[in-house]
């Protein structure tokens, strides 16, 4: 198992190098000169050129990339062109907001989505199942920012139960997390339902029933464990979409998270902010996917056994040998 984890962690390195190159490439393709943006239209050509030189914008692609990467390894993510503050400080401050939002959003959607999916699958073709399918379809099809505005209008303005923006108190987190989670709950519920139905059709479920096990054991012991495996894979993707979605949620609820920081950076052509912000989010995403894959491997013995000492080939040999001994007897 350890071998598998080490292998996956090592695979992270080329991915992250690739991402940093991609981000730098994106910035290079951006029309508009950051130096010109900083100095304003009134500055002369020489002043702009001087600043470009100072910022190292005239260096070659790989020189700039190396400077960025070596900086990152020394904990230096550069300085914002706009605020002149170190990007790292700013990001460390903002990171926790995004993390809370994304983690709560994901946790909510998993905790609600999985039971809803199981419920729908075990009540197949009843009104309960139909209602669950229909509601989740609506939730998936709804723009989350629109849903956010509606709940702000209702719970914030009309009923005045919850603060309409800001996260100074814990109540401020409720609506942002709900807005993040809604579509994802539905997504997971739909996935869970179809996986569950797929598994319930399998032969080994009939085998389990033929052993005289109770319905409860068949569904929760034999079916659920198998059906949850593909859902785990989806959770990685769900985390990714909530990372992307946090961008809008942060804007709507005025949460000072990473998404807002990147948005401001994009608007100002503040490239140290853009490249570091995207790199951080991509790293976070890659780490989550890694964790999800490891959990996946832990749950599924078919994958696990590929990485444990008694690997498949030996297992196969063992079989043949036994088949022979049986034949001989």
């Amino acid at each position: 198992m350890l071998r598998y984890i080490i292998k996956r962690v090592l695979l992270l390195i080329p991915t992250l190098i690739g991402i940093s190159l991609l981000v730098l490439l994106l910035i290079d393709l951006t029309p508009g000169d950051p130096a010109r943006m900083m100095l304003g239209a009134s500055a002369t050509e020489e002043q702009v050129e001087e600043l470009r030189e100072e910022l190292g914008l005239n260096d070659g692609f790989f020189v700039r990339w190396w400077r960025f990467i070596s900086g990152v390894f020394q904990g230096d993510f550069g300085t914002s062109l706009m605020t002149k503050r170190p990007v790292l400080d700013e990001m460390l401050f903002r990171f926790r907001y995004t993390l809370i939002l994304v983690i709560f959003g994901t946790v909510f959607s998993v905790l609600l989505g999985i039971p809803i999916g199981i419920y729908a699958a075990t009540h197949q073709r009843t009104w309960k199942d139909n209602a669950a399918i229909f509601l989740s379809l609506i939730a998936v099809s709804m723009p989350s920012f629109w849903f956010a505005l509606l709940i702000i209008r209702f719970f914030g303005v009309q009923l005045q139960w919850l603060p309409i923006s800001g996260v100074d108190t814990w109540t401020g987190w409720i609506m942002p997390c709900a807005a993040m989670a809604l579509g994802l709950i539905a997504l997971i519920a739909r996935q869970m339902r179809s996986d569950m139905l797929e598994v319930l059709r399998q032969d080994y479920i009939t085998t389990a029933r033929s052993k005289g096990l109770s319905n409860r054991t068949v569904v929760y012991r034999h079916a659920l464990k198998n059906a949850v495996i593909p859902v785990i894979m989806v959770i990685g993707g769900v985390f990714g979409s909530s990372l992307g979605g946090s961008l809008i949620t942060e804007v709507i609820f005025s949460i000072p998270g990473l998404g807002q920081y990147i948005m401001t950076g994009l608007n100002n052509r503040d490239y140290p902010v853009i490249q570091s912000g995207i790199l951080i989010i991509a790293t976070l995403f890659a780490v989550i996917i890694l964790i999800v894959d490891v959990i996946f491997a832990l749950v599924d013995p078919r994958i696990r056994s590929q990485y444990t000492r008694r690997n498949k080939r030996e297992g196969g040999k063992k079989n043949e040998k036994e088949e022979e001994t049986v034949k001989a007897a």
């Binding site: 033929s210 052993k211 005289g212 034999h222 007897a329």
Partner: protein
């Protein structure tokens, strides 16, 4: 061989899909005596598996519907029992072996757990004891007990089928329903598994309903045969009777389509045509369309089962006339 262990009377099962009703089993009756082994023979789609699943009460709940009939097991009608009562019988007194060992085992539980689970369900014993008995079962089907903790994907097809058999026999069932237990296996492994099943049957004195499409397996393993066609039993009798004196044109056709080494004929005689569409069964005899002896009478109304010798039933007008 004494009294009837299992007695099926006039069983009819339908499957309801969105488009149509599939008449899978139509008015089937047969019985299995204690210690007897009966072969259910027929083409794919003749309703053999449905019969077995009806006995065990594990038909797909949403689609399948038992239209009529009774299934007596040790004198009780299984169809009248509650789900709770059925659960006590399933895996305990009646067990089933499934066709495809590749898919019949839960891929993410150890094989040992899956055997011990059945033992624990039906016996009030401690986990450790169940585990020991599961290991004994593995040894009995020729798998070392240490492999208790292995997962299904670590076994070959033949070994998996042994595990499935161990699981089915774990609680010493009175009746074993074996649904094409060897079809998915290589020929060499088939013989091994059959040998093993025969030995176990003699040792445990279990009654067996063996579902197969292979007369060879039946001749090897069974005391009596029931030939199924389009959801009906068309001919039934002892292995000796049916093999030496098949009366129903379908049974005869089946024998003629089996290659024989001792025959001089170069060509096999396949039965012409296909089995009728189970959503639209013909009014008369189901086999009439393909039967070389079919008359007007055959397409008008279905024949009954005629007992031409004690224990030898044939569902055909031809034998009735022959007797006259």
């Amino acid at each position: 061989m004494g009294e009837n262990l299992l007695e099926i009377k006039n069983l009819s099962v339908e499957y309801h899909t969105d488009d149509a009703v599939v008449y899978a089993v139509n008015n089937i009756s047969f019985e299995v005596k204690k210690g007897e082994s009966i072969g259910l023979v027929g083409e794919t789609g003749a309703g053999k598996t449905t019969i077995a699943k009806s006995v065990l009460g594990i038909l797909p709940q949403l689609q399948a519907k038992i239209k009529s009939g009774e299934i007596y097991f040790e004198g009780n009608d299984l169809l009248k029992l509650s789900e709770k009562e059925m659960q006590k019988i399933r895996g305990n007194k009646i067990a089933m072996i499934f066709q495809d060992p590749m898919t019949a085992l839960n891929p993410i539980e150890t094989v040992g757990f899956q055997i011990a689970e059945a033992i624990k369900r039906h016996n009030k014993i401690k986990r450790q004891e169940a585990r020991e008995r599961a290991e004994d079962m593995l040894e009995m089907v020729g798998i070392p007990g240490e492999r208790y903790r292995d997962y299904p994907h670590e076994f070959s097809g033949g070994m998996k089928q042994r595990v499935v058999i161990a699981m089915a026999l774990a609680c010493n069932p009175e009746l074993l329903l074996a649904d094409e237990p060897t079809t998915a296996l290589d020929v060499t492994i088939q013989a091994q598994v059959l040998d093993m099943m025969r030995n176990l049957r003699q040792k445990l004195n279990t009654s067996v309903v063996l579902i197969t499409h292979d007369f060879g397996v039946v001749a090897d393993f069974c005391d009596s045969v029931a030939v199924t066609y389009a959801g009906e039993i068309v001919e039934r009798g002892s292995v000796d009777r049916i093999f030496n004196n098949p009366k129903h044109p379908y049974t005869q056709g089946l024998f003629e389509s089996i290659p024989r080494l001792d025959s001089n004929e170069n060509r096999l005689k396949p039965i012409k045509g296909l089995m009728p569409d189970p959503t639209h069964l013909p009014e008369g005899c189901r086999f009439a369309e393909r039967c070389p002896y079919a008359t007007e009478e055959c397409t008008a109304a279905p024949p009954e089962a005629y007992e031409i010798e004690p224990g030898h039933f044939v569902k055909c007008f031809k034998v009735k006339e022959g007797e006259k």
